[in-house]
């Protein structure tokens, strides 16, 4: 025996008591003070539990409705989305199922429509909040990285689609619904000022922009927002990968004629 203290995992999220016959099995698990299997399992909705995990406090009714709506809006980006295409590429090749989700996460992590864009967009909300003038200034003088990073610099205003033409109907429908049910400041302001921001961005609002505003209204940090966005978009990636796995590579685009190797 040594006198060295046992190394432990420090956590504010999770507490366990041991089973009497096995110290490696939990008898009771508490999340932020709530008994998970004796209370939350019976009484909480999944989305409320998700909120609790991130924020360590239960959501109020409006927060719950907002997060639920956002989760539905984001759960399946559709089979043309880059992250879902990555998952389907795993599916058609007969890759393992986890690889489909790893692929979706890897691609859906990025600056274009991905979780890193949401991270940056929440930083913009933090800095500009509901001041159009602050947005104007920040867009004119965007934050600069002082040293090299593994992430590439943003090539467009985070939360907006550089390849968009006008704000797509589903984005507008989601913004209107979430702003109405949540009555939170940034979503409401975004709905009123969308066109002005789009004019400044020179491109239309994207789902990543709504997600950032909603998660900022829910007091998610940029890091929490990035994580939430990553995990909440996985259901679509999973089911489309499974579907294409069954159909096989012959029924999936190979772009045989679209690939042009320069001489």
């Amino acid at each position: 025996m040594t006198d060295k203290p046992t190394e432990t995992i420090t956590t504010e999220i999770w507490r366990e008591t041991p089973e009497a016959d096995n110290p490696f099995a939990a008898k009771d698990c508490f999340c932020a003070g709530y008994n998970v299997y004796d209370d939350l399992l019976k009484n909480a909705s999944f989305i409320d539990y998700l909120f609790l995990l991130f924020k360590l406090e239960p959501p109020n009714t409006q927060q719950s409705v907002l997060l639920e709506g956002l989760a539905i809006a984001l759960a399946n980006p559709g089979p043309r989305d880059h992250s879902v295409r990555a998952a389907m590429s795993a599916g058609v090749g007969g890759s393992t199922h986890p690889s489909a989700l790893i692929a979706a996460l890897s691609v859906g992590a990025g600056n274009l429509g991905g979780a890193r864009e949401v991270f940056h967009a929440v930083e913009y909300w933090r800095h500009c909040n509901t001041s159009l003038e602050a947005w104007q200034q920040y867009i004119k003088h965007p934050p600069q990285e002082g040293r090299a990073d593994v992430w590439m610099p943003m090539e467009h205003l985070p939360g907006f689609d550089p390849n968009g033409v006008s704000c797509p109907t589903p984005v507008q429908q989601t913004l209107t619904y979430l702003a109405t049910v949540s009555k939170t400041p940034c979503l409401g302001w975004l709905e009123k000022n969308r066109r002005q921001l789009e004019a400044l961005a020179e491109c239309p609002l994207a789902f990543s922009g709504i997600a950032a505003a909603a998660l900022f209204d829910l007091d998610f940090s940029p890091e929490q927002a990035e994580m939430f966005y990553l995990l909440i978009r996985l259901p679509g990636a999973a089911v489309h990968a499974l579907e294409q796995e069954k159909l096989g590579w012959r029924k999936y685009p190979f772009f045989a004629d679209g690939f042009k190797l320069n001489p």
Binding site: F30, N43, V150
Partner: protein
């Protein structure tokens, strides 16, 4: 309906000079035929050419030595390797273990960020010194702006046992005498004398050696992405061959709970 999207011209239309395969049986990388022009290259030279467009047996050999001496310790306590060991003990697959390891290796306290960051720092620092700035001021400015200097300091221990063997190998192939290696040691001399007592770490010496060979931060990042896999796979294999779940199991008392003490009741 008129089409306005910027994407229209790219539809089924991807032009590239990077390379590809044709059903007629030709395979090309950066303009070279893989079967006739690249067929006898060692894998590391092929990777160097693929990732950077550079052809240099010397740089390739230097990178290979870096991968062996500096970045492939098979210790499952190191965080990226631990992912491999956990995958093994949880009976996941080797490829999934490797995928996790590669992704996790893009870390801040070790791995890809310091490797890329150190090379970037050396280039910026040398440029400022060439313009008349003092080394001390350059380092102080870096610390003030970022609260750290990539390439200096190390988790767990301060000294880095990799520097000596790495330098010995570098000298054996006529590397290690360039300005960036000198700069790296000068910065160490300065930092180790400050309150921080930072010493140079393995990432810095690798970055400096490669900077002297004309490798850029982007080049080193793309090459180093694969650098940790040879150390990780043994950790996966080892854990996968031992009893399932036996890799550092944790009893419930190993959770040091610091949150809400009282038991709360939902909706109450």
């Amino acid at each position: 309906m008129s089409v306005h999207s910027k994407l229209e011209k790219f539809e089924d239309n991807w032009h590239t000079s990077m390379g590809g395969w044709s059903p007629e049986g030709k395979a090309v990388l950066r303009g070279k035929d893989i079967f006739t022009e690249l067929n006898d290259k060692p894998w590391m030279e092929y990777l160097l050419y693929a990732a950077t467009g550079k052809e240099s047996p010397k740089v390739s050999r230097l990178i290979e030595a870096i991968w062996v001496i500096c970045t492939s310790f098979p210790d499952p306590r190191i965080w990226n390797n631990r992912v491999a060991a956990l995958a093994g003990t949880a009976r996941s697959t080797g490829a999934l273990a490797a995928a996790g390891v590669v992704a996790v290796s893009e870390a801040t306290i070790y791995g890809l960020k310091p490797i890329k960051g150190a090379l970037d720092f050396f280039l910026r620092a040398q440029k400022k010194i060439d313009q008349g700035d003092s080394l001390e001021r350059v380092v102080k400015e870096e610390l003030k702006q970022f609260r750290s200097v990539y390439g200096y300091g190390r988790p767990v221990v301060n000294n880095d046992e990799r520097i000596k063997p790495m330098m010995e190998f570098a000298r054996s192939i006529d590397c290690g005498n360039g300005r960036y290696v000198r700069l790296a040691f000068e910065i160490e001399r300065y930092l180790s004398g400050t309150r921080l007592k930072y010493k140079m770490n393995g990432g810095a010496i690798c970055a400096a050696l490669l900077a002297d060979e004309g490798i850029t931060p982007t080049d080193i990042y793309h090459m180093a992405t694969y650098t940790f896999t040879a150390g990780a796979m043994p950790c996966y294999i080892d854990a996968q061959q031992q009893p399932e779940g036996s890799f550092f199991p944790l009893r419930t008392s190993r959770l040091n709970y610091r949150g809400v003490e009282e038991v709360r009741h939902w909706n109450s």
